[in-house]
Symmetry: C2
Subunit: 165 residues, 2 copies
């Protein structure tokens, strides 16, 4: 259990070489990316982004939850982003996962969660990405953003845009 200590140690070297205090809170490319927490997704490298370029939002499954809508409204209406990219990925942990079974097991083991917890599992990657794109497009406070959905292949590193965005 020393991953956090390792990160804090690595950060000392990072800070010693740090030269980017000039960066703005407003993303230089006016881009927001919504993607999964999966460890295999290195967002900046896979999308060619530099520090300062984009707002990056990540949760389990790249699901457009209420929290993602909150964050996107802030990004679009306050930080000035104009394009939103949903990036789902192959081999996602939520793909064909049994969330009900997990919830039941955790409840037996640890007692109930204080508020109900839906895992937002899905059966079809592209259909799921399309649903998330539609949730953003139908939100009245995000209508002026351009939204596109893509799937990342963890075996090839390739992004494949969905037909119809």
């Amino acid at each position: 259990m020393n991953a956090i200590d390792d990160a804090l140690n690595a950060n000392r070297e990072f800070a010693r070489r740090f030269t980017q205090s000039y960066l703005s809170r407003r993303p230089a490319r006016q881009l927001a990316v919504v993607t999964c927490l999966d460890a295999r997704l290195h967002v900046e490298e896979a999308l060619g982004l530099a520090n300062g370029d984009a707002n990056i939002l990540r949760n389990a499954g790249a699901i457009v939850t209420d929290d993602v809508l909150r964050s996107l409204v802030f990004s679009h209406q306050v930080l000035g982003t104009r394009e939103i990219m949903i990036v789902g990925h192959t081999e996602c942990g939520l793909l064909r996962f049994d969330g009900q079974e997990l919830g039941a097991r955790l409840e037996r083991q640890f007692g109930p969660a204080p508020s109900p917890l839906a895992f937002h599992v899905f059966d079809d990657l592209e259909a799921n990405i399309s649903r998330q794109v539609q949730k953003i497009k139908s939100h009245p406070w995000l209508k002026s953003a351009l939204v596109r959905g893509v799937a990342y292949d963890v075996k090839t590193g390739m992004l494949n845009e969905l037909k119809g965005g």
Copy 2:
């Protein structure tokens, strides 16, 4: 409006050089990081993380919302992470921000949001990070994880751990 096209073009070169198809869904360092969507936070570089090392969760403010709890339960109980690091940062857009004024303005301009939208603004960075740490520590399904809170300084690149974790 060509940030997404630029990202897709950059990805072709990334995929050509891609060699990491061996990576596991289970984070190598058994680490989950919860941080902000802010464009100035390059999580991997600032924390010395390689691709495959950690689950990374990001939203506006590094707030432990229900969606973050969902994602952390999945990360801890399914993907095997054991340490959770909350990384807030200086100059966060939600710090001393007037969320009610923004909500009222957007409602006048675009009509009401389909579900109410709280921005989770805060007045004190360290107190906010501590609150988020406590939310995780008090969740029965995350009790076996080690949780620590740190603040990232966007002017120096330094992580500063909170007193008391």
